[in-house]
Symmetry: C2
Subunit: 148 residues, 2 copies
DNA sequence: TTGCAAAAGGCGTATATGCACCTATTATCC
DNA sequence: GGATAATAGGTGCATATACGCCTTTTGCAA
């Protein structure tokens, strides 16, 4: 059982935990020159293959405009390319560059070490259960603001 | 079971969930003119009574400098006061103003409605279990970055 | 075919987040 | 009591987050 009573607010509870975990992962990933969100973007892009901003944003449960701005440092550093799609000139195709793949290869062992350390401290079973719960939560429609 | 497999990355899983839930709470709290972090700050300050920046930041699992900057819009709008502590001139005492208490009173029913809607959609038992798990996680020392 | 709705994305603005480095103040130890 | 360490907080910088409004482009239908 937790040493202190849990927060009554679900939102505060998850935000506090997100800060706690992000600071840990950020410190572990720092030698790669990537932040945790940047690593997530590159890793998901590698996994998905070339994608549009809307697609990748939905995948990351991120606002479209947030992702659009987060792409800029990555494009500036040559880790990904943003090219207009000739098929549909509204779209922009995001692709991982060779430098982006190299950077990801540098960061991946750091990420794996962070994952292992997290599981060692928090418990591998607890970690897996938490990730499953959070996947359910993300898939849960919490309702539109105007509804009851 | 979740419709899609959970993220392998614990950090991404919790950040995605934090974004998902924060967007929901932000929309519900918007009529009060407070963001979710602002509501958390005022509510915790009311619960704790007058506090220093370091104390409140630790309570919120937030970097000291992050809290310091988040206070500014609240001070600007007169919801809290930042006064030097005559006992120790390094410290600054944070206190909720009458306007801050009024704003909190306005926001609280919106927050309660958000909590109720969250529990209705995600499940009250699942919600309580998640908050307990996250409290344990926040209390878990994940280790210093230089350690194995 | 043209006229309008929908989709994709950018931009302005505001807040949120935290690291590295700095100053001011207090506590401690000879 | 004076050097020094510890503490409280601020600043500069960079990235992260998202709402509202806008333009461009595409799809659809009368």
């Amino acid at each position: 059982m937790p040493p202190r009573p849990p927060d009554p607010c679900s939102c505060l509870a998850i935000r506090k935990a997100a800060r706690h975990v992000t600071q840990f992962y950020d410190a572990r990933l720092a030698p790669s020159g990537l932040t945790t969100p940047q690593f997530s973007i590159l890793a998901r892009l590698r996994h998905r293959g070339p994608s549009t901003i809307n697609e990748l944003a939905a995948d990351l449960v991120m606002d479209r405009t947030t992702l659009g701005r987060n792409l800029r440092p990555l494009e500036r550093d040559g880790l990904l390319a943003i090219a207009p799609d000739p098929e549909d000139r509204r779209r922009r195709a995001l692709t991982l560059t060779a430098a982006g793949q190299d950077r990801l290869a540098t960061a991946r062992p750091l990420w794996q070490a962070a994952q292992a350390a997290f599981d060692a401290r928090f418990g591998a079973e607890a970690s897996a259960a938490l990730r499953a719960t959070l996947a359910t939560l993300v898939a849960t429609d919490l309702g539109c603001p105007t509804a009851g």
